[in-house]
């Protein structure tokens, strides 16, 4: 039982998909409740996992490792360690909430919930898989449901958004496929390793690569690092691979935006930690100043200014603002993990978790108002505070959390990221810290335009009713986590710490052999 917990968490939603398919399509409520019921086991198993997770070891836990395809040594290998546990918990936590947020999906409910449950399986699978091949399968498996969920149930430009998301991600994962094969065959040539996709054995390959320049002065492992990075950067999304994100987020239905921002973006940074860091440590150290730190800082600044522009320029879309703020906040993750300091990397993974909860709240809040007013224009509201006071209260919590207010969770993680990064990179850290002002300005501006002032007259026709119980059920648990982690971050940090320090060690010990070049020193 104990070792099969992850397998159960992965495949319960898949069983739910089958169950939903078997229901008659007229029984809409039954379909919703069935879908909800099949996300709950993962949630409760997640709580059990949290309590039984051993925080003192870097070893994988709850491991299942059985052969899948013998002839190619492909294994069904799942397990969690400190790098992945927080993400598994986040996924298990967000999925029931997203089902609640999907309650008013009106069209082809059966298909929607079936695809959603398939997506749930794929996401949990990505975070648990420890075999590169399995990881890849789950990684790609997310694409199909996502394409349909955005494309069928999305907003007016859904087709464009869906295919754009699909093409970007497919391009990235195609690069990952080639890298995966190179690792596999390199491992096969090494005595004592043999052909394998096992992510715990592949680190042995790193020393055996040929290091002479292959293309544009880059060696083979460096090219592979960049290829893997591009794959993950598409998901993060890092500039300049981010352009799918505003489209996909804006067009996707609320619950899917929550999943996109809450879980899918984390897969980018998670992938870098899971694949790039241990498998190519020396290259990670070489590229981190440019690809992670500098690009991360640029992400922070760029995302914040794009979000700010939504306050002033058309279409003044609240959802687009939140989408761009995601790009900005993911920049902190990149900056933090590039530092290779204990604070930085802990802060990065904590920020992944916090951003997951806070952005989920933000998108849910946008969804609540959109369901009532059927538009999301920032300048289309005003004085909402007196019409929907409870809603405004919840909104206030989420917005201030996103701003990084002390006492709320994002403050801790952003400060950790910046503290850690300060030792390594002065200028990027300074940029990241100063951007907090921009972040505060676009969020405050939005609050002022939408919620403060006199209520508008047209609200009489809009029937703006106060936030209802179902919506509170989605938002309050998230809000509680945001507050708790604001005061007691160790609830999550303790899970991560040991494994992440181990990861830091791997990179730093590999880096001692290579000296940093002049440009990287200048960044510091």
């Amino acid at each position: 039982m104990e070792s099969s917990i992850l397998t159960l968490m992965i495949f319960f939603p898949l069983a739910g998909m089958v169950a939903v398919f078997c229901l008659p399509s007229q029984a809409k409520d039954l379909i919703r409740w069935t879908a909800f019921a099949f996300t709950l086991p993962a949630f409760f198993l997640g709580i059990w996992l949290y309590q039984n997770f051993d925080t003192t070891t870097t070893a994988l836990q709850f491991v299942v490792n059985v052969p899948w395809i013998e002839s190619f040594n492909i294994r069904y290998f799942v397990g969690v360690d400190g790098v992945s546990i927080s993400m598994v918990l986040l996924t298990a936590f967000l999925c029931p909430i997203c089902i609640l947020a999907s309650w008013n999906i009106e069209r082809a409910e059966k298909g929607y919930f079936a695809l959603f449950l398939l997506l749930d399986t794929a996401m949990t699978g990505v975070f648990c898989a420890m075999d590169f091949f399995l990881f890849f399968i789950f990684w790609e498996l997310m694409l199909l449901p996502m394409y349909f969920l955005i494309g069928i149930w999305g907003g007016p430009r859904r087709e464009y958004a869906a295919i754009k998301f699909f093409l970007y991600t497919m391009l990235g994962s195609a690069l990952m496929l080639v890298c995966m094969l190179v690792f596999y065959f390199q491992a096969g040539a090494i005595e004592g390793v043999g052909y394998t996709f096992d992510l715990t054995q592949l680190p042995a390959v790193a020393q055996h690569f040929q290091t002479e320049p292959l293309l544009f002065g880059f060696s083979l492992p460096q090219i592979m690092w960049l290829a893997l990075f591009i794959n993950f950067a598409v998901k993060i999304p890092a500039f300049p691979f981010h352009t799918w994100l505003p489209d996909a987020h804006v067009e996707a239905p609320t619950a899917i935006s929550v999943i996109l921002a809450g879980v899918l973006l984390k897969m980018g940074t998670y992938g870098i930690l899971r694949v790039n860091y241990p498998l190519l440590p020396a290259e990670t150290f070489f590229f981190a100043p440019y690809c992670l730190a500098a690009l991360g800082a640029w992400n922070i600044v760029y995302g914040a200014f794009c979000a700010l522009s939504q306050c002033f320029t058309e279409p003044k879309d609240l959802k687009k603002l939140v989408a761009y703020s995601s790009i900005s906040h993911m920049g902190y993750v990149m900056l933090g993990m590039a530092s290779f300091t204990p604070q930085g990397i802990n802060g990065a993974v904590l920020q992944m978790f916090n951003h997951g909860t806070i952005t989920a709240m933000l998108f849910l809040i946008v969804g609540v108002i959109y369901d009532r007013a059927h538009h999301r224009r920032i300048d289309g509201f005003g004085g909402l505070a007196s019409v929907m006071p409870v809603y405004t209260g919840v909104m206030g919590l989420a917005f201030f959390a996103a701003m990084g207010l002390p006492g709320l969770s994002a403050f801790i993680s952003e400060v950790l990221c910046l503290l850690g990064a300060w030792h390594a990179y002065k200028i990027p850290t300074l940029l990241g810290a100063l951007t907090v002002i921009i972040t505060a300005s676009y969020l405050l501006w939005t609050i002022q335009q939408m919620f403060l002032g006199q209520p508008r007259e047209e609200y009489a026709d809009m029937h703006l009713s106060e936030i209802n119980t179902r919506e509170l059920c989605m938002l309050v648990p998230l809000g509680a986590i945001v507050v708790i982690l604001g005061f007691y971050p160790h609830a999550v940090l303790d899970l991560l710490d040991v494994s992440l320090q181990g990861l830091n060690e791997v990179v730093l010990s590999a880096s001692t052999s290579s000296s940093p070049d002049a440009a990287a020193v200048a960044l510091r």
């Binding site: 395809i69 002839s71 890849f136 399968i137 087709e159 869906a162 093409l167 080639v178 596999y184």
Partner: protein
């Protein structure tokens, strides 16, 4: 040792069954008025051929190994080899026959008074392909290829009152004539160089006598015209879009699945055991100095790129699938250029997978054409929302599988091809192939988009699925998914089948 004509017949029973069913179809055609039954006879014949071919492969494996061990794999005075490679292709070909006959039963185009001829010629074409897969003599290779071509021309022009069908048949005939003429000219050069038409003797002569490299190279290029034409590889692909577009849909499916597989069988058997030498660790060595792998590398890259780029702008689904099948010929050729057993194995595996997904896609095209009379993208508009949810879902599975997305069979097929390419360190080829997969996503996803994301216009009627097509679609789509999750048995089958009988 090789068996003479009479002794060989004992090992030729799948072909014999096909021959008998062809005769049965023609004879019954003369006697009965209810032409529907002819299709059933053909289906039974094809299914029996399948059963007996698989019987040869699974139950009589000891028989074959015994034959090979004793050096007795030659049939008909060294015209035919009976090896696991041939049997693999015979299984695939009889599967194609079963699939295509089955799908013809539910086709509106085929449903006419001339059905008897159609089914008879279809089976005859399949019979020719059986010989293509096992020919070990240039003479028989040429004869079987011509036999398949001739029957294909007739099948393409089957819709006598359809101008497009007639035009397609004529184009096919002209291209085919030129290609096979070029090929036989190349064969004559080979004969001149080696003094033999027998693959084993050609092999021995080439390796011992070290013929003039340029001459040999030209001869091979000339022969490639014939092979390339059958598998629709650039630059011999020009016939494919027009022929696929004009031919009745089941025939198109047969050309894209059966004809292509047979072409690959011929190509692989000629270039590997006849022209190359099996070396250490599953690697093959070609006659020194003749750089045909480099040539085929370029052909593979250009084929997939051109097929994919041309498909981007197609709005007729049959034509789109024609370009897609050109692109897939390019993918399969990736396994051909690496000169290793891995490559061969990956090609065989891909051919199985390709059979499933491409046949499935054509069946959905046929279902839509039966209901709406259209083959263009417009006919697919909102298919999922006007009663066609099952064919639309099946089509989505086939198309995403053709793209190469896990967890579908197409991904596993591509995975093995790329694995062989990366192992051979042809990184550029891998990158080109990968980028092509991404490009192909665009046009496959456009069909999916039209089916699911677009709303049906009011003028489009309901789409219904008859039991014939429904059951076949269900089998193929479930197989495509299952092979994407657990493919070890099929892979082992492909692995066993890479052993050629070389004889002595």
């Amino acid at each position: 040792m090789n068996l003479g004509s009479i002794e060989s017949l004992a090992y030729l029973y799948p072909e014999g069954i096909l021959l008998l069913s062809i005769l049965a179809v023609f004879l019954v055609d003369l006697c009965v008025d209810d032409k529907e039954r002819l299709g059933n006879i053909a289906l039974v014949g094809a299914a029996l051929a399948l059963v007996f071919t698989s019987g040869l492969s699974f139950f009589d494996i000891r028989l074959i190994e015994g034959l090979q061990g004793a050096g007795e794999g030659w049939l008909f005075h060294r015209m035919i080899a009976l090896d696991s490679f041939a049997i693999f292709f015979k299984v695939i070909l009889s599967l194609s026959l079963v699939g295509v006959v089955w799908m013809s039963l539910g086709s509106r185009e085929i449903n006419g008074p001339n059905q008897g001829e159609y089914y008879g010629i279809l089976l005859a074409s399949g019979l020719g392909m059986f010989f293509m897969a096992s020919a070990t003599n240039l003479l028989l290779a040429y004869l079987s290829l011509e036999f398949v071509s001739l029957t294909s021309y007739v099948l393409t022009g089957y819709l006598t009152h359809n101008r497009r069908s007639g035009e397609a048949a004529l184009k096919y005939l002209i291209y085919g004539g030129v290609a096979s003429g070029t090929m036989i000219y190349g064969m004559s050069w080979i004969f001149g160089l080696t003094g033999s038409l027998d693959y084993t003797e050609i092999n021995a002569a080439l390796l011992q006598n070290a013929p003039d490299q340029l001459t040999l190279f030209i001869a091979l290029v000339l022969m490639l015209a014939g092979f390339g034409y059958k598998i629709a590889a650039v630059p011999f692909h020009m016939w494919a879009p027009d022929v696929y577009h004009g031919a009745p849909i089941p025939v198109t499916a047969f050309l894209s699945v059966g004809s292509k597989a047979a072409g690959f069988a011929l190509l692989m058997r000629f270039f590997y055991p006849a022209l190359s030498q099996s070396g250490d660790a599953g690697m093959w060595q070609f006659v020194p100095g003749v750089e045909w792998p480099q040539l085929m590398l370029i052909v593979a890259m250009v084929t997939m790129t051109l097929g994919n780029l041309a498909a981007l702008n197609q709005y007729n689904v049959k034509r789109l699938l024609a370009y897609s099948s050109i692109a897939h010929a390019g993918y399969i050729l990736m396994g051909f250029v690496v000169l290793s057993d891995e490559g061969l194995r990956a090609m065989l595996f891909y051919i199985v997978v390709y059979y499933l997904m491409n046949l499935g896609a054509f069946i959905v095209v046929m279902v839509v054409a039966n209901n709406t009379g259209r083959e263009d993208l417009e006919g697919f508009r909102g298919l999922a929302w006007r009663g066609g949810a099952l064919p639309a879902a099946a089509m989505a599975i086939f198309l995403f599988s053709l793209t190469g997305l896990p967890p579908l069979a197409g991904f596993i097929g591509k995975f093995y091809l790329f694995a062989a390419v990366v192992k051979g360190q042809f990184y550029w080829l891998a990158v080109v192939g990968i980028l092509n997969s991404v490009v192909s996503l665009y046009y496959y996803a456009r069909i999916v988009k039209t089916m699911f994301l677009d709303q049906p216009s009011d003028s489009e009627g309901e789409v219904t699925l008859d039991p014939h097509n429904g059951s076949l679609l269900a089998i193929l789509s479930v197989a495509t998914v299952i092979l994407g999750v657990y493919w070890a048995p099929v892979f082992d089958f492909a692995d066993r089948s890479t052993r050629f009988f070389l004889g002595s």
